[in-house]
C-alpha cells in the first residue's frame, strides 16, 4: 500500500488563514493555527473517529448544522468558526451534560491535575450546574483487573478504552454493556480484563475512570517528573517516559514514536518498573566465600575479579545477555579480546555470519513497512510474545490498510484469525520449511523439503502464490511489497539451511533494495542486533570487522562445551544467566559447575548465578542506564537515566574499564558518553552518530545511504547445507518451545505483575490428548532424553497433532531443561 501523500491547502479558522495538508482532521489542522478544539473521544491512534462525545462541535460556513471537528477533513477554502455564540453554547452544553452525573471528586481523583475533563470543563464549560437531581453513586473503585481499577461514576463513555480493546489490541475483552444512560464499561461475566496490552486504556482514559492500581495515590502531577528513555525488556524497545518521584520510578507511560511503538506499551513494559525497586535487587558487590555469595567492598570485588581473570587469561569467555547496551557489549568484547587475549565472546548464540547476511541494509524493512506492505509473512515467531508491540503494528496494517497477512509457524499463532493464510510445520522442520517455501517461489523441489518439514505441500504453494502476487490490484497480480517478519530463533533451530533459503526467498520476491519491503528480524533478546553490530559475536569485530584472531572462536554452545571440557576456565557474564536464557540448561549447568571463575553483572540473583557465580557486580536497571541499543530495524536508540543507581551499583562501563585498567590496559573511558563515542567510531555504519543526533527518537542507520554504503558485505553464504528432517513421532511427540511475554524475572519481581508469571504448560492437540488419556488442566510429566519436567495440559484445537509445545524462559520446569526433539507424556 503506498503511503498517503497530501497537498497543502489553506483554510480559515477564527479569521486566521492556516496552511495544512489537505484532509487533515480539523481538530489537528486547527492546532496549526493555534486554535484548540476540545475533544474527548477523538484519538487518532484508535482508528476512525466515532463522533460520540460531541465536544468538538464547530461551525463551518455553508453547513447549517454544527459539525464535529474530529471527523471533518479540512478542504481548501473551508471557513471554520470556533468562537461564535452558537459553538460556545453547544460546547458548554456538552460539558454540562457530561458533568450532570460526574461525581466531581477531583480532590481524591488520581487524574486530578492531568485530567482532560478538568481542563475542558474549565476552558469550555459554563461553570455552573442546573442539575439538581441526586447524582448516581456506585461502589468505587472496583477492580477491573489486578492492574486496573475502574470508577464507573467518573466514566464519560467516550469509548476510548473499548475501542482500544476492540480495534487496536483486538482482544475484544473490554466491552460496553447495556445501552443508553445505563451503558457501562465491563467484561464478560466478571472476568478480569487481563491481556498483553490492557494497561494502555489507563493512559487513554480522559478522566479518572481507569486508574493504575500500582500507581493509585502514589503521587500528584505536581510531585513528579517525567524522564524519557527506552524500555529494554524486549526487542520492541518501546519509547517510554518514567514518572519519577523522590528518586523512585512510580509509573511508566508511553512516549509516542511512530517509528517504534505508535504510542503503545505492553503491560510488561508498563508495570515491570516495579522490579527496579525490588528488594531482590543486587545492590552491592558479592563474592563467593565458603560456598555462598557474601557482600564485599567494591575494591575487594574488583581486585578479586581482576586477579581471577588474569589467571584465566585467554581461557575466559564472555557472554552478553540481550539487555546489555551497545556500549556494554562493545567494552565486554574489548576486555575479552584486547585485554585478556581470548576470542570467545558471544551474545546471540547463533552463527553470526547468518545474522550478518540477513541484516544487510538493502534487505532491511523498517517497522513502519509492516503497516504499509502489501503482504506480511510472519515466519517462525509469535510477535505478541517475542516483540509485543509488533503484534499491534501487524494488526493495524491488516485492519486499516488491508495488508494481507500470512503466518507460517510451528505453534498456532494468535495472529491466525487475522491472517489470509496460516501454514504449520512441525517443530524441527524450520530449515526444511523455508527451503520448501523458497522452492515454491523460486522453482525447485517442494515436495521433499515440505515432507521433511511436516508441512502441507499445497499450503506452501498457496503461500508462495500469495507472496508472489499479493501486490497491487487483483488484476495485474504484480509482486507487491512483502515484509518477512522472521524470528531469529529459526537460526538456532536449523540456521544452516534457513539463511541461504531466506536470502533466496528475499531475492525471489525482489526485496533487495526495495523501499517498503524486506526482512525484519524478531530477535530472541532485546539488543541482539546492537550487540552483534558492536562486535559481541564470535569471530566478528565491531561493525562486522575482522578480529584478526587465529583459530576457532566459540559461539555460545561452543563456550559451554569448552567450559565442560576444561578448554576454557572462566566465564564473564554481562546481564546473563545461561541456565535460564540459553538452550540446554543441563549442559550449561555442568559448564558453570566446571568453570573455576564466573564473573557476573546482575540485577538479580537468578538460580544459576546464586549457584555458580564467583563474583557478582550489582548491575544497573534500564531506568538507571545510559547508552544506546539498536532496534531490530536498525534504529539506534538512546537510554537516559531516570533515577540514581540503586545502592552501591556502579555503571557497567565503569566496571569493565576499571577491570581492564587493573589488568594493565587503559580503555580511555571516563564517562558513559566516551564509551558511546568509541563505539560509534569503531562501527563504520555508526559513523557520524552522536548521542545528540540520536536524541529522543533514535536514528535508523540503514535508512542513511552513507551508513548503508559503509556496511561491510557479508561473505557468500554456504549453499551446500542440507536441511534437517523433523523427527517422526512414532508414538512419541515432537517438542516445540515458545517464550511467553510474561516470562522474565522482572515480571516475577514486580508485585503488580507476579500474578502473570507463567507456569509450565504443555499445549497439545485434542487428538493427542485423547490418545494419551489426558484432559485439559491435567498435570502431566513430560520426559525426553533422560530429563523430565511437570506441566499442565492445555488443549488447543488449532494445534497440529503429533507436536507439543512447552515454555522456555521461566524459572522452574523450563523447556530448556529438556534437550530433546521427542518427548513422552504421562499423567503426573
Amino acid at each position: 500500500m503506498p503511503r498517503p501523500e497530501h497537498r497543502s491547502i489553506t483554510f480559515t479558522i477564527d479569521g486566521r488563514e492556516v496552511q495544512a495538508p489537505e484532509n487533515t482532521i480539523l481538530v489537528d489542522a486547527a492546532k496549526l493555527g493555534d486554535v484548540e478544539i476540545p475533544v474527548f473521544c477523538y484519538e487518532p491512534k484508535l482508528g476512525q473517529p466515532v463522533g460520540a462525545c460531541r465536544m468538538c462541535l464547530v461551525e463551518i460556513e455553508g453547513i447549517p448544522k454544527l459539525q464535529t471537528g474530529c471527523s471533518t477533513p479540512v478542504k481548501d477554502g473551508m471557513v471554520v468558526h470556533t468562537q461564535t455564540a452558537r459553538v460556545k453554547e453547544a460546547q458548554a452544553a456538552v460539558v454540562e451534560f457530561l458533568l450532570i452525573n460526574h461525581p466531581l471528586d477531583c480532590p481524591v481523583c488520581d487524574k486530578g491535575g492531568e485530567c482532560p475533563l478538568q481542563d475542558i470543563s474549565y476552558g469550555w464549560g459554563g461553570g455552573t450546574t442546573r442539575f439538581i437531581e441526586p447524582k448516581r453513586h456506585f461502589v468505587k473503585p472496583l477492580e477491573l483487573s489486578p492492574l486496573i481499577a475502574i470508577d464507573r461514576e467518573r466514566c464519560i463513555l467516550c469509548y476510548r478504552c473499548v475501542r482500544f480493546s476492540q480495534e487496536v489490541s483486538e482482544d475484544y475483552q473490554l466491552v460496553l454493556h447495556e445501552r443508553g444512560a445505563a451503558t457501562f464499561v465491563g467484561t464478560f461475566d466478571g472476568h478480569p480484563y487481563v491481556a498483553p496490552f490492557s494497561g494502555n486504556i489507563i493512559e487513554l482514559c480522559p478522566v479518572g475512570a481507569l486508574t493504575s492500581r500500582p500507581y493509585r495515590f502514589r503521587a500528584r502531577p505536581w510531585d513528579i517528573e517525567g524522564s524519557g528513555s527506552v524500555c529494554t525488556l524486549c526487542p520492541a524497545q518501546c519509547n517510554v517516559s518514567f514518572t519519577v518521584r523522590d528518586e523512585r520510578v512510580l509509573r511508566v507511560l508511553a512516549r509516542q514514536n511512530d517509528g517504534v511503538d505508535d504510542g503503545w506499551l505492553c503491560d510488561k513494559g508498563r508495570f515491570a518498573y516495579q522490579s527496579v525497586h525490588s528488594d531482590e535487587r543486587v545492590t552491592q558487590p558479592l563474592l563467593r566465600d565458603g560456598g555462598e555469595l557474601r557482600p564485599v567492598s567494591w575494591e575487594r570485588a574488583l581486585a578479586t575479579a581482576a586477579g581471577l581473570l588474569k589467571k584465566a587469561g585467554a581461557g575466559v569467555a564472555g557472554l552478553a545477555g540481550g539487555e546489555s547496551t551497545n556500549e556494554e557489549g562493545f567494552l565486554l568484547q574489548r576486555l575479552i579480546r584486547e585485554v585478556l587475549g581470548s576470542s570467545h565472546v558471544d551474545a546471540a548464540g547463533v552463527d553470526p555470519v547468518d545474522l550478518w547476511s540477513l541484516a544487510r541494509p538493502d534487505l532491511q524493512a523498517s517497522l513502519q513497512d509492516v503497516e504499509y506492505a502489501h503482504t506480511v509473512l510472519v515466519l517462525g515467531t509469535e510477535p505478541v510474545d517475542d516483540m509485543p508491540i509488533l503484534d499491534l503494528r501487524i494488526r493495524k496494517g491488516v485492519r486499516r490498510n488491508r495488508v494481507k497477512l500470512a503466518v507460517a509457524t510451528a505453534r498456532p499463532s494468535s495472529l491466525d484469525a487475522s491472517a489470509a493464510l496460516s501454514v504449520r510445520y512441525a517443530p524441527g522442520g524450520e530449515g526444511a520449511f523455508v527451503t520448501a517455501l523458497t522452492a515454491a517461489v523460486y522453482g525447485g523441489d517442494v515436495d521433499a523439503p515440505a515432507a521433511a518439514a511436516g508441512a502441507d505441500v499445497d499450503a506452501i504453494r498457496t503461500l508462495a502464490e500469495l507472496l508472489r502476487t499479493g501486490g497491487g490490484d487483483d488484476d495485474n497480480r504484480a509482486p507487491g511489497d512483502v515484509v518477512i517478519v522472521w524470528g531469529t530463533r529459526l537460526l538456532g533451530a536449523d540456521g544452516g539451511a534457513v539463511t541461504p533459503a531466506l536470502l533466496k526467498l528475499a531475492s525471489g520476491l525482489a526485496l533487495t533494495g526495495r523501499d517498503g519491503g524486506g526482512l525484519l528480524a524478531v530477535p530472541a533478546s532485546t539488543n541482539e542486533r546492537g550487540l552483534l553490530e558492536a562486535g559481541v559475536a564470535p569471530g566478528l569485530a565491531p561493525g562486522f570487522g575482522d578480529t584478526g584472531a587465529a583459530g576457532e572462536s566459540y559461539a555460545e554452545a561452543g563456550i559451554a562445551r569448552a567450559l565442560r571440557d576444561g578448554d576454557l576456565t572462566a566465564l564473564y557474564l554481562l546481564h546473563d544467566d545461561p541456565i535460564l536464557s540459553r538452550p540446554d540448561a543441563v549442559g550449561w549447568d555442568r559448564a558453570l559447575e566446571k568453570a573455576t571463575t564466573v564473573v557476573a553483572h546482575a540485577q538479580f540473583l537468578t538460580a544459576g548465578l546464586r549457584e555458580h557465580a564467583t563474583v557478582v557486580f550489582p548491575a544497573e536497571s534500564y531506568a538507571e542506564k545510559e547508552g544506546t541499543v539498536t532496534h531490530p530495524d536498525g534504529r539506534v536508540q538512546r537510554l537516559r537515566p531516570a533515577i540514581g543507581r540503586q545502592g552501591q551499583t556502579r555503571p557497567e562501563w565503569w566496571v569493565l574499564s576499571e577491570l581492564s585498567r587493573r589488568l594493565g590496559a587503559d580503555m580511555g573511558i571516563l564517562t558513559g558518553a566516551m564509551a558511546s563515542r568509541q563505539l560509534f567510531d569503531a562501527v563504520p555504519f555508526y559513523a557520524g552518530l552522536t548521542l545528540d543526533r540520536i536524541g529522543g527518537r533514535g536514528v535508523r542507520w540503514p535508512a542513511d545511504p552513507a551508513a548503508a554504503a559503509a556496511f561491510p558485505p557479508p561473505p557468500e553464504v554456504r549453499r551446500d547445507v542440507a536441511y534437517e528432517t523433523t523427527a517422526t513421532p512414532n508414538g512419541a511427540l515432537r517438542l516445540g518451545t515458545f517464550r511467553s511475554i510474561w516470562a522474565g524475572i522482572e515480571v516475577e519481581l514486580s508485585p503488580a505483575l507476579t500474578f502473570l508469571t507463567p507456569r509450565q504448560q504443555v499445549e497439545m492437540a485434542p487428538a493427542d490428548a485423547r490418545r494419551l488419556g489426558v484432559a485439559h488442566g491435567d498435570k502431566v510429566v513430560v520426559a525426553g532424553d533422560g530429563a523430565s519436567l511437570e506441566a499442565t495440559v492445555v488443549l488447543r484445537n488449532a494445534a497440529s497433532p503429533g507436536s507439543v509445545f512447552l515454555q522456555t524462559g521461566i524459572q522452574t520446569d523450563a523447556a530448556n531443561g529438556l534437550d530433546a526433539a521427542l518427548v513422552e507424556i504421562h499423567k503426573a
Binding site: 477492580e143 482482544d171 445505563a182 465491563g186
Partner: protein, 212 residues
C-alpha cells in the same frame, strides 16, 4: 445480585445504583475471557449446527450474532454465561463481544428470567387505552409463574389493537379488562392466547381495502 428496591418508580440497587452491573467488580480469580477454544468448550451439536447455518448467510459471519444469541437463549432460557460462551465458541468471537451485543437488545435477556416472554406494550398509544392497568393486572395474575417473563415493553407495532400483549410472539388485543383472567390462565397453561383477538386474523380497517 440483589433485587432492586423501587423508589419513586425507579429501581434502585444497593448503594444507590439503578443499573444492575454498575456495582460489579471483576472476579480476579477468573481467567481472562478470550475466544473459547473448541477443544475446551463443548457445544451441543444441534446448537452448533444452527449457529453455523446462520453464519453461512452473511459475507461476514459476525452478522450472525443476534440469531446465534437468540438460538442460545432459546436453549438456555436466557443469555447465560454458558450460552454466550458456547455461541462465542462457534462464532470464534470472545464471549465479551456477544455479551455486549446481548446487553444492547431488549429481547436478549442478560439476567435469568422465565423462558416464555410475555410483553405488554406500555408505549403512548397503548397507555392511552389502558396498557398500564393491563400490565399491573397481568402482573398480579402471573407474578408467581416462574417460567413466564412478563414485562412492559416499548411500542410493539400493534397500536391498532391497543392495549395489547405479545405472548411468545403472538399478538393479541385489544385486551378488555374482563378478558385478563382468561388470558392469564392461557398464558400460564401455554394455551393459545385469546384466539378471537389475535392480530394475525384481524382484517384491514381500511374500508376500501378489499374493494377492487
Amino acid at each position: 445480585m440483589s433485587t432492586p428496591r423501587i423508589v419513586n418508580g425507579i429501581a434502585r440497587y444497593e448503594h444507590g445504583s439503578r443499573v444492575p452491573g454498575w456495582d460489579e467488580a471483576a472476579d480476579l480469580t477468573k481467567d481472562p475471557a478470550g475466544v473459547p477454544d473448541p477443544a475446551v468448550v463443548e457445544v451441543p451439536a444441534d446448537l452448533r449446527l444452527e449457529i453455523e447455518s446462520y453464519m453461512a448467510r452473511y459475507p461476514d459471519s459476525r452478522s450472525a450474532a443476534i440469531p446465534a444469541l437468540k438460538a442460545a437463549q432459546q436453549r438456555y432460557g436466557w443469555c447465560s454465561p454458558e450460552a454466550i460462551e458456547q455461541a462465542a465458541c462457534v462464532m470464534r468471537l470472545t464471549p465479551g463481544y456477544l455479551a455486549a451485543v446481548a446487553g444492547f437488545y431488549d429481547q436478549l435477556e442478560t439476567r435469568p428470567v422465565g423462558r416464555r416472554p410475555v410483553y405488554v406494550c406500555t408505549n403512548i398509544s397503548c397507555s392511552l387505552r389502558g396498557a398500564d392497568a393491563l400490565l399491573a393486572a397481568l402482573q398480579d395474575e402471573l407474578g408467581d409463574a416462574p417460567d413466564v417473563n412478563l414485562r412492559g415493553f416499548e411500542c410493539l407495532g400493534a397500536c391498532d389493537i391497543a392495549p395489547m400483549v405479545s405472548v411468545e410472539g403472538v399478538y393479541v388485543g385489544p385486551v378488555d379488562a374482563d378478558e385478563i383472567p382468561e388470558l392469564a390462565r392461557q398464558i400460564r397453561a401455554g394455551d393459545e392466547p385469546l384466539p378471537a383477538k389475535q392480530l394475525i386474523n384481524r382484517p384491514s380497517q381500511d374500508p376500501d381495502a378489499s374493494a377492487a
